[in-house]
Amino acid sequence: MSNLRYGYVTGPLLGALWLVVLSTTVSVAMSFATGDAFRPSILLSLVWGAVAGGLIVAIGRNVIVQGIITAAIIATVMIGFGPMVTGESAGTLASILGAAILGVSFAVSLAVILTDINPGELTRHEFEAAVIRFLTGFGYIFFTAIVLIPFYVMVMTSLKNQAELIQNPLDFSIDLSKGWDLFRSYDELFRQFNFGTYLLNSFLISVLTVFITLAFAIPGAYAVARLRFKGRAAFSRSILLIYMVPMIVLALPIYIAFSMTGLRNSIGGIILIYPVTTIPVALYMLQGYFRGLPAEVEEAGLMDGLSRLKVIWKITLPLSLPALASVSLYVFMIAWNEFLLAFMLLDDPTKFTLTRGIASLDSSEIPRQHLMAGSVIATVPIMALFLGLEKFMTKGLTAGSVKG
């Protein structure tokens, strides 16, 4: 390791690796954006990256060096000898654009990574700081890419048609001239596949689940958090235990019981079962929050003549509104995303939830873009809700425990 700690080794090394990362990223991004053939050349990336890293370490980090590197990358890409190779199908404009993005981003970011790297021997601190900056940059690109690509594919596929997709699976560019026709899959889902009803069903079921869960969990959580009784510790542990029983184990007897009592295939049956799956987690999250509330306020209320139930209603609940919001959001999310029970218990297309509706689209007779449009319809509301209330969500999840 200590051999690496010389500026003229560290610089070219990080430069080479960084250019591989960036040329791969830009190639993938350009391919997904235009559908044209872009690919990284690993070997040339290593070579040119090392040269650029050496240049920055030797001459210094200034605009002139950065300009030279940018120009060199654009030039080499255009003559086909650069870190990124463009196929014949790629237009000149796209090639120049890709090369420019690669050149500028590489020159700027490499200078940042190699801050404080001098040609001579480096302290361990300087060397590791540079490596960490490299890893950080790589991490941002990596995580953003793996998170975004599936969602990008989902949205773009829903706007295209089967023939276009099979012809070039990489071409996600959309023809804006089509106008509203782009959203044909969505239109068909709502008109022919009842997705409006499913959306309503899902919404209704999720909201009801939230209210029923809270109605059960608030008193329970309060009892566990505040009141002294025999078996309290055992109880709060068994909540966690229940929470670990896999749904598929319970789904089988529930399926049998619902088949025999005629509750299968009814929204009522689903509403009966969903809250029970969420009560333990809601109870656990809420009791953690209740414990953190100062008991003195409640005792003052008791002294002033309020009954316990009044204390819960007038003091504890108003104080725990943020926790109630995060628990509600979390329970809503579980109910909205629930798939297994809806899949097993609902067979009648008029009573489907969204997730069950999407599952029914998974057939060879229904085009792919419908499946993806259905997925988008199910994803967008929960995402919007989540992004709007992200603070609550993050707090709530980490305050209590969480079900996967």
């Binding site: 053939a37 953003t144 598929i248 089988l252 049998i256 999407i358 599952a359 993806m372 999840l397 980490t398």
Partner: protein
């Protein structure tokens, strides 16, 4: 004489508090007992019963009723016909009987000897039936004026049917075939091996990626909130949506991932990511890591932000390098949350069903224990065998939770 010892036992106040506590808890307790404890007991019961999917509909007496013959004028002769059958081809029904009300204005002629008439109420006792038994029962009647005026057909009043069928779910037939089948041969060990691979690597992977992501976001910068929200997407989106997006992305014929790999020269022909052994198992594990790293990331980040920064400043002054600080300061601080997360995620990954079910349906060497429950119960229609697998899962779970509670008591509050 004053007693100075502290009061013993539970006083009235404490009793009242305990009563209130149980009162507040009872709705939850009842609901959980009904939907968790009862099904768990049922699973143990079913696992030793020879039940198949078809047995869920118990045999019953099917009865149809209509009026045969002319019923135009007073004095016409007609027959009320009862068509009866046993719905099951396999099981007998014992003590079949039914009662029905004959509409006003119909005079019953000679009765079948098994039937009796009390006013207008007809009751027939038809004895025991073989599987698949059918019978047509004719009740001759004479039409009266009241019938023509009333307009009530014989079929308008529903006949009440009774009959006892032995239900395989409640009778005393027991079998260990289900367990024998589950543990039979190499298949079970294959399934267990797949489950362990998926669970261990899925858990460790999600933890490591979560740790990496948390390290990235453990600093203040513009857009940190946006990135944090973005990195939670896989966890928040409905599993069915993201699973299908993955299936589409990695499709061997029209998948973008394959097109990209071919174009980059990594592979010359399309790879069937979700259809080949052992690639399919690796892919579902990768999906699991992708979907659940946000959760680990969130918990680890929350823990990181509560670590005192003074410590790092002191280490900096003493000349510790960033990696040294990470190993010597951060890792020990995070060990508690990491071990709790490991246990939690281990158990939940072990329990995971939807992901694999949606991605591969348990094909191509990806059948885990949970998928096996579904497979046995619904694909093979052997509910008993499915329940037996569920019992095996439950026993593993009990084993894990012993470990879990040993650890969580040290790291209470998560």
């Amino acid at each position: 004489m004053t007693d100075l010892s502290p009061p013993r036992g539970t006083g009235p106040l404490a009793k009242r508090e305990a009563r209130l506590a149980w009162g507040l808890l009872s709705p939850t307790l009842i609901a959980v007992a009904l939907v968790v404890v009862l099904p768990l007991l049922a699973i143990f019961w079913i696992s030793v019963k020879p039940v198949s999917l078809a047995d869920l509909r118990p045999p019953e007496v099917v009865l149809r009723e209509d009026l045969r013959g002319d019923a135009e004028a007073v004095g016409d002769e007609a027959n009320i016909r009862y068509r009866l059958r046993n719905s099951s081809q396999e099981q007998p029904i014992g003590g079949v009987s039914f009662t029905d009300v004959i509409p006003e204005g119909l005079t019953v002629g000679t009765l079948d000897e098994r039937c009796t008439l009390d006013g207008q109420a007809l009751s027939c006792d038809l004895g025991d039936w073989e599987p698949g038994y059918r019978e047509n029962l004719m009740i001759p009647v004479t039409i009266g004026q009241a019938y023509l005026d009333g307009g009530i057909e014989p079929g308008d009043s529903d006949a009440a049917v009774e009959g006892k069928a032995s239900n395989v779910l409640t009778n005393s037939t027991f079998t260990f075939d289900n367990f024998a089948r589950v543990f039979d041969g190499a298949e079970f060990w294959g399934v267990l091996g797949v489950t362990m691979f998926y669970t261990v690597f899925g858990t460790i992977g999600a933890l490591l990626f979560g740790l990496f992501a948390a390290l990235l976001l453990n600093k203040e910068f513009r857009g940190q909130g946006i990135l944090r929200g973005l990195y939670l997407f896989p966890y928040v989106a409905p599993v069915i949506a993201v699973a299908f997006a993955w299936v589409l992305l990695f499709d061997p014929f029209s998948g973008s991932a394959n097109a990209l790999l071919v174009q980059m020269g990594v592979t010359s022909e399309a790879i069937n990511f979700f259809g080949e052994r052992p690639l399919a198992l690796i892919m579902v594990t990768v999906f699991e890591i992708w979907r659940y790293f946000p959760l680990s990331f969130l918990f680890i980040l929350a823990r990181m932000q509560s670590i005192d920064t003074d410590m790092y400043e002191a280490a900096d002054m003493d000349g510790a390098s960033p990696f040294q600080q990470f190993w010597a300061l951060s890792v020990p601080q995070l060990l508690g949350i990491l071990s709790v997360l490991f246990l939690l995620r281990f158990i939940w990954t072990f329990n995971k069903f939807d992901d694999i079910f949606l991605l591969t349906g348990g094909n191509a060497g990806t059948r885990t224990l949970t998928v096996n429950v579904y497979e046995q119960a619904f694909a093979v229609s052997n509910i008993g065998a499915g329940a037996a697998v569920a019992v095996v899962i439950f026993c593993c779970l009990l084993l894990f939770s012993v470990f879990f509670f040993k650890f969580i008591s040290q790291e209470e509050g998560l």
